[in-house]
Amino acid sequence: MAVGKPAKHAVEELTEGQQNRRRMLAWLSSVGLFGSAIISAISNLVFIKPRATYGAPNRFGIGKPDDFPSGTRIALGEHRVCIVREGDKLCAISTTCTHLGCIIAPSETGFACPCHGSRFDQDGNVTGGPAPKPLPWYALSLAPNGELEVDKGTEVGAGTYLKV
């Protein structure tokens, strides 16, 4: 009959050094796995939105300030934005209706939607119709090459003008 060795760990008491070592290893493992998990989570949250898409650019030049004489309200169809100039103050107001996204046109009193009759005043505030929100204003800046630049990615408060 063969005599097997008794299982060592069952009877052996852990020394203090071994205990420390195990605690250390457990700590390292958990930091590693937990850290990876956090980084992955952050990456996923960030990369869920593409950094570049192939649609029309959000930031675009629209020409020199001189192209917009004082008192004009020029709607740029392809960009869906209306450039308003009063004296040396310029602003860019969206021409996409806040109701169902129709293209609205500047009117005598402000803006009017041809589809469902929403009305906005000169500053884009709702004066009638089904539109639930005022028209957003977009950031307007003067690019170094002397052209006006509209950034549709950045909304600014109504009444924010660019002085030229």
Partner: protein
């Protein structure tokens, strides 16, 4: 176990960390941050400061939809200061793009205004490179063989040293302007226009095809050459055609450096597409059978030739004269291949005594279709107007000064050696361009199996269907005899033996009939195709290992000038000094040979009626 787990967990963390870092910290972001910082420091007014203050690094991209296929350009992501005049002196990648009158930029009230706005045109349409790339390697193309190399430094720094200073970036950028500005004489691309003219004036079009411009087939198609090759490669190919292809038959044109520069720029502009056309335009153009790339008609086509080529060489004439012919020969680069007097292109036969050895009809047939009289000639078909051909013919006919015959040795050296070689071994300077290859005069087997009469006839009357000209108009009988004696003595090492009397009929005893031709065809397919090829064009599977090459049996001029007796002798008893065996040893009877001869004659029957070669 626990240790392994701990290590694995840490390795994963490190990998994750690296990926995270790689995806979040880009070089272009630091470029943009640097730009914002410096722009803020440079700002003079509040407006300027405000314009920069809100901005964060992000991918700047232009989508160009106006010209042909949509192009996505992210170049401005790194070159973010391109349109900021304040960064004129800054180091790349932030330096602003220079303004220049040549690009159409205008100076208005002390401020420059761009003609080609980056938002409309993008960058890669002029500069090449890959618009989507966000790293130097991908965007600029560091790869030596990158398809669309950047035209700037990146491709220039590893150019062949001797070409480096010959091309300046502003010059070869014209090649890219020409991709949209295809007008023939667009003022901002003078080099391209000059190169295009040279392409016609130097007769490049005779060999090379460029879609919409020319239809040559001898050389490579150059329609997309600008896409495939870099500038130094193009330069090298023009200066030294055999640098990249040892077997190239392209002659070395004597071009000035300025001319090469123009040609290279023109060739670089040939990309096969034109950005200013939509794909729909191109489709319509192909349907209409002509490309809109160039407004020049196909020179290969009759009628069109007169306009494009005549204007290209600026020689318009109605009355053919020898003087005009002389001018044409010099202008049109005939001497890039041919020899005339002191000028020698080193490719094609000597024209110095052309008036003595060929007649008007031969010249005209040769010009209209170079393969009409020499079946395998490599001379391109140049679509010159008929008056030009008549003028050149008149001039060549006027060249009737015979070469001096002081001694057979002198004559051989001056006249025969160019093809047959200084050593008479058939390896003359231009031998590789001639088809069939010049006879190797040192092969005793051949030379001693032929009678003096037969060889004298070859010298005097030439060999029809080959480049061997009839020298009987230059030399008298006595001179021919002494020349042959000289050749036998100097080059044929073995002594001449008395010829064996052979049993061959003088004319084919088998009457020409469809049945006989079919039998001949059968025998030919069984016995002869190994060398002469299934099509009897001399390009059989064994032909490459044999010199002299097997005869092209479609060479009507040659066959029609060859007697039945000679064909019988060659087939039955072989041609000594060549790979042609004596078929009488392999069981061919006279009747078989008769059928074969009928078959060969039938191959060339159509040509027979139109030719005036001396018949058997």
């Amino acid at each position: 176990m626990r240790l392994a787990l701990a290590i694995a967990a840490f390795v994963i963390l490190i990998i994750h960390g690296l990926v995270f870092y790689d995806q979040f910290f880009h070089k272009w972001e630091s470029y943009q941050t640097a730009y914002f910082d410096q722009a803020r420091a440079l700002a003079k007014t509040d407006t300027e400061r405000a314009a920069v203050s809100g901005r964060k690094p992000r991918i700047e991209q232009t989508i160009v939809t106006t010209f042909g296929e949509n192009r996505v350009d992210r170049c401005l992501t790194c070159h973010i200061g391109s349109d900021d005049p304040r960064f004129k002196e800054h180091a790349q990648p932030l330096r602003s793009h220079p303004f220049s009158e040549a690009l159409g930029d205008r100076l208005l009230n002390g401020k420059w205004e761009r003609r080609h706005k980056f938002s409309d045109f993008g960058c890669t349409v002029c500069h090449d490179g890959q618009g989507r790339g966000l790293e130097t390697f991908y965007a600029h193309g560091e790869d030596h063989y990158w398809n669309d190399p950047l035209l700037g430094y990146v491709t220039q720094h590893d150019w062949r040293a001797e070409f480096k200073d010959k091309l300046k970036s502003t010059e070869f950028m014209q090649a890219n302007c020409a991709q949209c500005h295809t007008e023939e004489n667009f003022k901002s691309t003078p080099l391209v226009a000059q190169g295009r003219q040279l392409f016609f004036r130097k007769n490049c079009y005779g060999c090379h095809r460029i879609e919409g411009l020319s239809s040559g087939t001898l050389g490579p198609d150059l329609s997309e050459v600008g896409k495939k090759f870099k500038l130094d490669y193009l330069w090298e190919s023009i200066v030294d055609p055999r640098a990249n292809s040892k077997t190239s038959v392209m002659p070395q044109f004597k071009l000035s450096e300025a001319e090469i520069r123009a040609l290279v720029t023109f060739l670089k502009s040939r990309r096969g597409i034109n950005y200013s056309e939509t794909s729909l335009d191109r489709y319509r153009a192909t349907l209409a059978g002509k490309s809109t790339v160039g407004k020049v008609a196909q020179p290969g086509q009759p009628g069109a030739a007169a306009t494009s080529v005549a204007t290209a060489s600026s020689v318009v004439a109605t009355v053919p004269t020898a003087a005009l012919g002389e001018k044409l020969i010099n202008d049109k680069s005939c001497l890039a291949c041919h020899k005339l007097g002191n000028q020698d292109g080193g490719v094609a036969p000597d024209l110095s005594f052309a008036g003595l050895v060929r007649d008007e009809q031969w010249f005209m047939e040769h010009f209209r279709d170079p393969r009409a009289r020499v079946a395998d000639s490599i001379m391109p078909s140049f679509g010159f107007p008929e008056t030009d051909f008549l003028s050149i013919t008149a001039y060549l006919k006027s060249l009737t000064t015979p070469p001096p015959f002081t001694s057979p040795a002198e004559f051989f050296k001056g006249t025969c050696a160019r093809c047959h070689g200084e050593k008479g071994d058939g390896k003359g300077a231009i031998a590789v361009y001639l088809e069939p290859y010049p006879r190797d005069l040192t092969k005793a087997g051949f030379m001693n199996s032929k009678s003096d009469e037969r060889l004298i006839t070859s010298i005097k009357e030439g060999v029809a269907g080959t480049s061997m000209a009839p020298w009987g108009h230059v030399l008298n009988d006595e001179q021919v005899r002494s020349l042959l004696a000289y050749i036998r003595q100097t080059y044929v090492k073995d002594k001449q033996r008395p010829l064996k009397e052979r049993d061959v009929p003088n004319t084919n005893p088998i009457a020409m009939s469809a049945e006989s031709v079919t039998r001949g065809d059968q025998i030919f397919q069984q016995r002869c195709t190994g060398c002469h090829g299934k099509k009897a064009d001399g390009k059989g599977p064994n032909s490459l290992d044999i010199l002299p090459r097997p005869r092209n049996l479609h060479n009507a001029d040659f066959l029609n000038a060859t007697t039945d007796r000679r064909l019988f002798e060659s087939i039955l008893y072989g041609v000594q000094g060549t790979a042609m065996p004596p078929w009488v040893d392999y069981g061919l009877t006279k009747n078989d040979v008769g059928n074969l001869v009928n078959y060969l004659r039938s191959l060339n029957q159509n040509a027979q009626t139109t030719k005036t070669g001396n018949k058997h």
